[in-house]
């Protein structure tokens, strides 16, 4: 069973507000992924880290989204100015080596609703 912790479980924001969510990866996992799952079950990869360094990120993440994984602190994903289209389940996953065959362990997600 995954031990990835995500907080908060639910987040409600108005349009234009900041939304911040956190993730504690499994102990000993240096690689962290963020995915967005919308109501149609379409997944979008946002960003991943190895320790504190960004490995890959998509264009969307470079604009209103920011993320970090500081040493000895939870990883975080923040939306600077929330839009209705950002309403989704945000999933954090962690893995041991970040290789293709590595198992990614998912947290329960943070469900964001932007009103």
């Amino acid at each position: 069973n995954s031990k990835v912790i995500q907080t908060p479980r639910y987040l409600v924001k108005g349009q234009g507000q900041k939304a911040k969510m956190r993730c504690i990866p499994e102990k000993g996992h240096p690689v962290v992924f963020w995915y967005q799952q919308n109501k149609n079950n379409e997944f979008k990869f946002l960003i991943n880290f190895q320790n504190q360094e960004v490995l890959q990120q998509i264009d969307m993440t470079e604009k209103r989204f920011s993320a970090e994984c500081p040493s000895n602190s939870p990883c975080s994903l923040e939306i600077q100015s929330s839009e209705a289209g950002d309403s989704a389940l945000y999933l954090c996953a962690s893995s041991l080596e970040g290789l293709g065959q590595d198992t990614q362990y998912f947290g329960p997600g943070t469900r964001l609703l932007v009103l």
């Binding site: 079950n41 890959q56 998912f106 997600g109």
Partner: protein, 114 residues
Amino acid sequence: AQSVTQPDARVTVSEGASLQLRCKYSYSATPYLFWYVQYPRQGLQLLLKYYSGDPVVQGVNSFEAEFSKSNSSFHLQKASVHWSDSAVYFCALIGANSGTYQRFGTGTKLQVVP
């Protein structure tokens, strides 16, 4: 390009019946392939994964999947379903030479009825 297609949005089966959930992928080489299950208000739980070797992969809870390179498919199967198998199932791939994040299908919602 890499993509995953799950052609069946919903599948209903009777408890005790066999199950097949379909997954088709598009990738130029052999990808890493995964099946996950998602229960309500939970994250994704890995059922099984494949990269090479025996095309039939055993997973947790008596699930198995069969990889077919010729058909670009990775179908999930179970011989006898239980009501607790009702959930949404996702197929995913990672291209072996193109990063480590997963591309997901849009899922198949399985309903097991008495």
